[in-house]
């Protein structure tokens, strides 16, 4: 099935990715993530002593502050903050630094579609840069179901607004490189990277479409996690000032 996209991509093709870490001097960790024209900056401060009110002091607390490109934060941004917070809490090992708070500030530089997945990827890279203990990385993808029924990945803002009837933001763990035999990393016959950390959908789709999105998202998350791994290895070898 051939699908015409404005920028000539195929339906499974992601936009060019770019990620650089350690770009802010005063933050403990920072990363910028861009996916085509969508660009997000994330900064991590912490762990600082003490947790906020209503948080469990036996665990580390994660605080997410979302800064939109312009204006004040509203309900959508509050929702993004909540999703980011819950997602990052599930990737970080919270028992290592009990009774501490780690703040993550997410600044939107430019929004050209797939904003929340970009923010999750940026925040995750910033956490790695800050040296916060994590179980695995989180890899976020945006899948769109178009009005004519096909599924495309990583939509631009224009595609999101004009053609789409529904979209799903999916977050998976990164694929595991391990010396252990294949079978030991499988849960219920599925590899561990197939598990969904976070799923957010908007708009109506059939249940089958959702599972189709899942399949596509998983395939794309493998490419993304390869990109993340390469990026992390590259920068850790050539940065001498790290730490």
């Amino acid at each position: 099935m051939e699908v015409d996209r404005e920028d000539g991509r195929s339906q499974n093709q992601l936009r060019p990715l770019a990620c650089s870490r350690n770009i802010l001097h005063r933050a403990h960790g920072s990363a910028s993530w861009s996916q085509g024209d969508t660009k997000v900056l994330a900064a991590v401060y912490g762990p600082k002593a003490g947790t906020k009110k209503n948080e469990n002091p036996e665990k580390a607390c994660i605080e997410v502050i979302w800064k939109p490109k312009t204006g004040q934060i509203g309900k959508p941004e509050k929702e993004y903050e909540m999703i980011l917070k819950r997602t990052l809490e599930s990737v970080c090992i919270l028992t290592v630094n009990p009774n501490t708070t780690t703040s993550i500030i997410v600044q939107v530089v430019n929004d050209d579609g797939a904003l929340l997945p970009s923010a999750i990827n940026a925040a995750c890279m910033a956490l790695v840069d800050a040296g916060i203990p994590m179980k695995h990385l989180a890899v976020a993808v945006c899948c769109c179901v178009a009005k004519s029924g096909y599924v495309i990945l990583d939509p631009t803002k224009l595609e999101e607004q004009q053609k789409m009837k529904a979209f799903a933001y999916l977050v998976f763990p990164n694929s595991v490189h391990s010396v252990l035999p294949e079978g030991s990393l499988r849960v219920e016959g599925e590899p561990i990277e197939n598990g969904i950390i976070t799923s957010v959908t908007h708009g109506i789709m059939s249940v089958d479409d959702y599972f189709y999105c899942l399949e596509r998202g998983r395939a794309a998350s493998v490419k993304l996690s390869d990109f993340l791994r390469r990026n992390l290895q590259q920068q850790s070898t050539d940065s001498s000032k790290a730490g």
Partner: protein
């Protein structure tokens, strides 16, 4: 965590209570092994659900929904407004500015203040769900194209928060919309549309003679599940939500289309089979809720 022979030590009532407070997760896991929950429900069963329509006399449509002890009151007030310029010929504006207000806390087991934090998120999800499900055809809310349309103000009050906040909020909103009766309006001498009763124009020809009820086309219903290891617990209480933190909310409409599937993080990764199980549980629940709503509506008509 000690207590190697904990089940043997749970002989008296006091100790059960102490065990529950000290080792909440172990307490739940012991129940889950027996496929039962502390409130005597099987894992897949939702709590008792009731809907009372017309709870607020001054609103145009209202409903009180209860799932277990989670209680939400939804009320809709209709107002005439001028539609926005972007959609003048349809006049299809019926915006739903939601104000889901939660009290600071009413449930004792939960940390105080949490529902207040959840309020904007639940409100956002609710307005997304209602608008994207296409339950209400906004064109039906038009009175005179480009000049006047209905604005439905939906307010939801949380009277008691004990888990499954979104489910209860959606149920109360849906019930309030099905109870909604649009007031009669007519043109006054200045050519403006006003409520007939308020302005004493009841003798005039009403503008909206036939359109007194809104057609709800595909009604969304939701079910929240908690995942823990391989167990799926439908319709969690606040205690269950706070102990086992992986929450999946599935919203299906009456034609079994997926309106929303939310899983914000959590320690358990959801595999395809778990997602399928959650959707299957939601399908059953949708049927239950449809029946409950129909009964509530038919109960109203008898009165």
């Amino acid at each position: 965590m000690g207590l190697p022979n904990a089940s043997g030590d749970l002989s008296t009532e006091v100790e059960v209570d102490a065990f529950r407070r000290l080792f909440p997760l172990r307490f739940y896991e012991k129940h889950l092994l027996e496929s039962i929950r502390p409130d005597a429900r099987p894992l897949g069963r939702a709590r008792e659900t009731t809907i009372a329509l017309g709870a607020v006399a001054s609103a145009n449509g209202s409903a009180l929904a209860k799932i277990g002890s989670t209680t939400m009151l939804a009320a809709i007030k209709m107002e005439v407004m001028t539609p926005s310029l972007e959609t003048p010929d349809e006049g299809c504006i019926g915006l739903l500015p939601l104000a889901a207000r939660f009290p600071v806390s009413l449930s004792l087991l939960k940390t105080p203040g949490r529902p207040a934090e959840a309020a904007p998120v639940v409100a956002k999800q609710l307005s997304d769900t209602i608008l994207s499900s296409g339950m209400i055809n906004l064109k039906e809310l038009s009175l005179v194209s480009g000049k006047a349309a209905w604005m439905a103000y939906l307010d939801i009050y949380c009277l008691d928060a004990d888990g499954a906040l979104f489910d209860t909020a959606l149920l109360s909103a849906v019930a309030a919309f099905s109870h909604l009766e649009i007031p009669v309006v007519s043109l006054n001498d200045d050519g403006k549309i006003v409520l007939s009763e308020e302005q004493g124009l009841s003798d005039r020809e009403p503008v909206n003679k036939e359109k007194r009820k809104i057609n709800l086309s595909s009604v969304p219903f939701s079910l929240t599940c908690v995942l823990h290891k391989n167990y799926i617990l439908a319709d969690p209480t606040a205690e269950e939500e706070s102990i086992m933190d992986t929450i999946v909310t599935v919203v299906l409409d009456s034609s079994s289309q997926l309106v929303s599937l939310q899983k914000p993080g959590g320690t358990v990764l959801a595999y395809t089979s778990a997602i399928q199980d959650c959707i299957a549980l939601t399908r059953q629940r949708v049927k239950e809720l449809q029946k409950i709503l129909e009964e509530a509506i038919s109960g109203m008509e008898v009165d």
